[in-house]
C-alpha cells in the first residue's frame, strides 16, 4: 500500500490540520500540569487559531492527500480561513465572561480547538468516511461545550438534546453513506460522481442522497431539521452559543456544497429539489417563528435558521455565481453574528446578562455605542443597503434568478421582509422604550470586536467588498 507518510514535505496541504492537532494536545498537557491557567490557555488558543488562519491564507499548497481522502483546494482554504477566524473570535468573546458562564476551565480552549480541527476536516473531506470522522470530531466537542456549565440544568438539557439529535442525524448520514457505497461501490466523492455518470439513475443512490442531505440539514439547522437549534442556543452558555452560531455553520455549509457539487453533480435535478425545499421552509418558518420570540437568544437562533435558508438559495442555483454567493454569504453572516454576540455579551447588569429582548429597553440612552452597533447588525441582518447583509442576499438572489428560480427568489425577498419585523422590534425597544437597568462597563476586547465588525458591516462596499468577492470567486471556481 502506498502512503503519504513518506516525507514531511509531502504533507504540506495538511500542515494547518497537523499544526492544530499537535497544538490541541500540547494545550491539553499544559492545562493538566499548570494550575489555574485557563485564561492564559484561551489566549494561547486564540493565537494558535489566528496563526493557522494566516498559514491557510498564505500557504498555497493544494492537492489531494491520504489516498484521495483529503483535499485542499481554494474552496477549502477560503472556508477554513472563515472557520478558523470564527473560532478565534468566538474564543475572544468568552474571555471576559468565562467565570460567570461556568466555562472557566482549561478544557474549554482545548475543545474549541479540537472542534475547529473537526470542522477543517469536514471542509477538506473528499471521502464519505473522512466526512463522517470530521463531523463526529466537531459534533462531540460541541456536545461537551454545550453541557460544560454543569450546575445549570438548562445547559445540561441543551447538551443532552444536542447529543441525542446529533446522534440521530449521524445515523441518517451513515445510512445514506452506506446506501451510496452499496450502490456505487465507492466512498471517494469524485469517484462516486464518475460511477453515477456511467450508470443509470438508480433509486438506491437517490435514497442515499436524500438521507445524506437530511443528516447534513441537521448540521446547518435547516427546516424541518431545525428543532434543536433554539433550545440548544438558549440553554448553552452564551459564549458557547456564539461559537455554535458561527464556525460550525460555515463548515457544515462547505461540506454540503462540496458533497452536492462533487459527488452528485450528475444528479443535479434531484438534489436541487431537496435544497430548494429546505431553503424555502427555512426562510419562511424562521420569518414567522422569530416574531413570537421574547428571548433574545431564541430570536437569534431563528434568525440563524432563516439565514441558512438564504444561503441555501445560492446553493440551489448550483452554478458558479450561486456557490460564490454562498461563500460571500457565509463570510458576512459570520461577521454579523460575531458582532451581535459581542454586543450581547457586553451587556451585563446587576441581574446578570441580558436574556430577553425587553432587557434592552432604552439601551440607546444607557449605552449608545452598543445600541448603535446592535442596530447596525439588525439592519444588516434584514438586508438593508448599503450594509453588508444586503450584498450577501443580493449575490444569492442574483444566482437564483440566473438559474431561472424566480419563485424561490420572490419567496426569499418576501421572507426577508417579514423577518424585518422582529429585527426592527429590537431596534424599537432600544431606541424608543424607557431604560430600566444599569449595565457594568464594557470589557475592552468586546468593544474592539464590536468596533471592527461594525466597521466592516457598514463600510463593506467601500472597503472589503471587492476583495471578498474576488476571493469567493476563486474559491467557487475551484469546484467547477
Amino acid at each position: 500500500m502506498d502512503s503519504d507518510l513518506i516525507s514531511f514535505a509531502s504533507l504540506a496541504p495538511a500542515y494547518p490540520e497537523l499544526f492544530l492537532a499537535i497544538g490541541a494536545v500540547v494545550l491539553l498537557m499544559a492545562g493538566v500540569f499548570i494550575k489555574n491557567a485557563s485564561a492564559r490557555l484561551v489566549g494561547v488558543a486564540i493565537g494558535m487559531l489566528l496563526a493557522v488562519t494566516v498559514l491557510v491564507i498564505i500557504q498555497p499548497a493544494t492537492g489531494v492527500l491520504f489516498n484521495g481522502g483529503f483535499i485542499q483546494d481554494d474552496f477549502a482554504r477560503y472556508m477554513k480561513a472563515l472557520v478558523l477566524a470564527g473560532s478565534a473570535f468566538a474564543l475572544v468573546l468568552s474571555v471576559s465572561n468565562a467565570v460567570d458562564n461556568g466555562i472557566a476551565k482549561f478544557e474549554y480552549a482545548v475543545l474549541v480547538v479540537l472542534a475547529t480541527l473537526g470542522m477543517m476536516v469536514m471542509v477538506s473531506a473528499n471521502d464519505l468516511m473522512v466526512l463522517y470522522i470530521g463531523i463526529e470530531l466537531q459534533a462531540l466537542s460541541l456536545y461537551i461545550l454545550a453541557a460544560m456549565k454543569r450546575e445549570s440544568a438548562r445547559a445540561t438539557e441543551a447538551g443532552l438534546k444536542y447529543f441525542v439529535l446529533g446522534a440521530l442525524s449521524s445515523g441518517m448520514l451513515l445510512y445514506g453513506a452506506s446506501l451510496i457505497y452499496g450502490f456505487t461501490g465507492q466512498t471517494q466523492l469524485d469517484k462516486i460522481a464518475e460511477v453515477i455518470l456511467l450508470s443509470d439513475r438508480s433509486v438506491g443512490v437517490i435514497f442515499g442522497l436524500a438521507f445524506l442531505l437530511a443528516g447534513l440539514a441537521f448540521k446547518v439547522s435547516a427546516v424541518p431539521f431545525h428543532m434543536w437549534t433554539p433550545d440548544v442556543y438558549e440553554g448553552a452558555p452564551t459564549p458557547v452559543t456564539a461559537f455554535f452560531a458561527t464556525a460550525p455553520k460555515v463548515a457544515a455549509m462547505a461540506l454540503l456544497i462540496r458533497l452536492v457539487m462533487d459527488s452528485f453533480e450528475p444528479l443535479a435535478k434531484d438534489w436541487q429539489q431537496i435544497i430548494i425545499f429546505l431553503s424555502i421552509a427555512s426562510m419562511v418558518l424562521a420569518a414567522f417563528a422569530g416574531i413570537g420570540q421574547k428571548n433574545l437568544i431564541r430570536m437569534i437562533a431563528y434568525s440563524a435558521i432563516g439565514h441558512m435558508g438564504f444561503a441555501l438559495v445560492g446553493l440551489s442555483a448550483g452554478n458558479l455565481v450561486g456557490i460564490e454567493g454562498v461563500a460571500i454569504y457565509m463570510a458576512i453572516y459570520l461577521t454579523m453574528n460575531i458582532g451581535l454576540f459581542a454586543c450581547i455579551l457586553s451587556l451585563k447588569s446587576n441581574n446578570g446578562y441580558v436574556r430577553n429582548i425587553s432587557d434592552l429597553a432604552g439601551l440607546a440612552q444607557t449605552r449608545p455605542y452598543v445600541a448603535a452597533i446592535i442596530a447596525i447588525m439588525m439592519f444588516s441582518l434584514i438586508g438593508l443597503p448599503p450594509l453588508a447583509g444586503f450584498f450577501a442576499k443580493w449575490h444569492v438572489f442574483l444566482a437564483a434568478i440566473e438559474a431561472q428560480l424566480f419563485v424561490l427568489a420572490v419567496i426569499g425577498v418576501l421572507a426577508s421582509a417579514i423577518s424585518a419585523f422582529y429585527y426592527l422590534r429590537v431596534v424599537k425597544t432600544m431606541y424608543f422604550d424607557a431604560p430600566e437597568q444599569e449595565f457594568v462597563p464594557i470589557p475592552g476586547e468586546l468593544a474592539f470586536v464590536m468596533g471592527i465588525t461594525g466597521f466592516l458591516v457598514i463600510s463593506y462596499y467601500l472597503t472589503v467588498g471587492r476583495t471578498l468577492v474576488d476571493f469567493a470567486n476563486v474559491a467557487a471556481g475551484s469546484l467547477f
Partner: protein
C-alpha cells in the same frame, strides 16, 4: 461428519442454550454470565468461519469490556429487576410485531441463498485467502487509512476529555492519599507515648 461441522454444532448449540438462559434466569448476575458464554461461543463460530480478527475483537471488546461493565452495573446499582419485568407484558404486541418482522427478514436472507445460490456467490470484493484477516487489516490501517485512524483517535481523545470535564468534581475537604507524606512520617511525629494511670483509661 467432519470436525469443523462437529464444532459448529457444539458452539451454536451452547450459544442458543445460553441465550435462552439469559432471558429466563431469575438472577441478573447469572444472565450476564450466560451472555458472556453466548459471546464466547459466537467467537468460536467466527473462528470456524475464518474470521479470526472478529473472534478476538468479540472477546476483547464484548467480554472484556462491555460485559464487565454490565456486571458492575448489575452488582453496584440496586436495580429491582422483578419490578422491570412486571410491566413487560403490556409491550408484548410490539415485541411480537418486531419479532415477526425480524423472522421474515431472516427467512428472506436465508431463502435467497437457497433459491438463487449464484447471488451469494457473486460478491463484489472476493476474499483474498492468501493473507489472514489481521494481516490484511494491518496492511491498510497505517497506510491507506492513516488519516481516518488518527482522526478516530482524536475523537476518542475528545470523548475522554468530555467524560472528565462533565463528571470530575474538585470537592474541597476530600481526604486523598499522599504517598510522599506517608513515607516521610517517622516515629517521632507519628507515635505519642502516653502514661496511663491504671484504672482510669484515657
Amino acid at each position: 461428519m467432519t470436525l469443523p461441522v462437529f464444532f459448529f454444532y457444539i458452539f451454536s448449540g451452547i450459544a442458543i442454550a445460553s441465550a435462552v438462559m439469559v432471558i429466563s434466569s431469575r438472577n441478573p448476575v447469572h444472565s450476564v454470565l450466560f451472555l458472556i458464554l453466548a459471546f464466547i461461543n459466537a467467537a468460536g463460530i467466527f473462528m470456524l468461519a475464518g474470521a479470526e480478527f472478529l473472534a478476538m475483537i468479540l472477546i476483547i471488546v464484548y467480554v472484556g469490556a462491555v460485559m464487565v461493565l454490565f456486571l458492575f452495573v448489575v452488582m453496584m446499582l440496586d436495580v429491582d429487576f422483578a419490578d422491570f419485568k412486571r410491566g413487560a407484558l403490556q409491550y408484548m404486541p410490539v415485541g411480537v410485531i418486531v419479532g415477526v418482522i425480524l423472522l421474515i427478514e431472516l427467512l428472506m436472507v436465508a431463502g435467497s441463498t437457497f433459491v438463487s445460490p449464484e447471488l451469494a456467490a457473486g460478491s463484489a470484493m472476493p476474499i483474498n485467502n492468501a493473507v489472514s484477516n489481521t494481516q490484511a487489516l494491518g496492511e491498510v490501517l497505517y497506510t491507506r487509512y492513516v488519516f481516518l485512524f488518527q482522526g478516530a483517535g482524536l475523537i476518542l481523545l475528545v470523548a475522554m476529555i468530555g467524560a472528565i470535564v462533565l463528571t470530575l468534581h474538585h470537592r474541597k475537604g476530600v481526604k486523598r492519599q499522599d504517598i510522599g507524606e506517608q513515607v516521610a512520617r517517622n516515629p517521632k511525629t507519628a507515635i505519642k507515648v502516653v502514661k496511663v494511670k491504671s484504672g482510669e483509661g484515657l
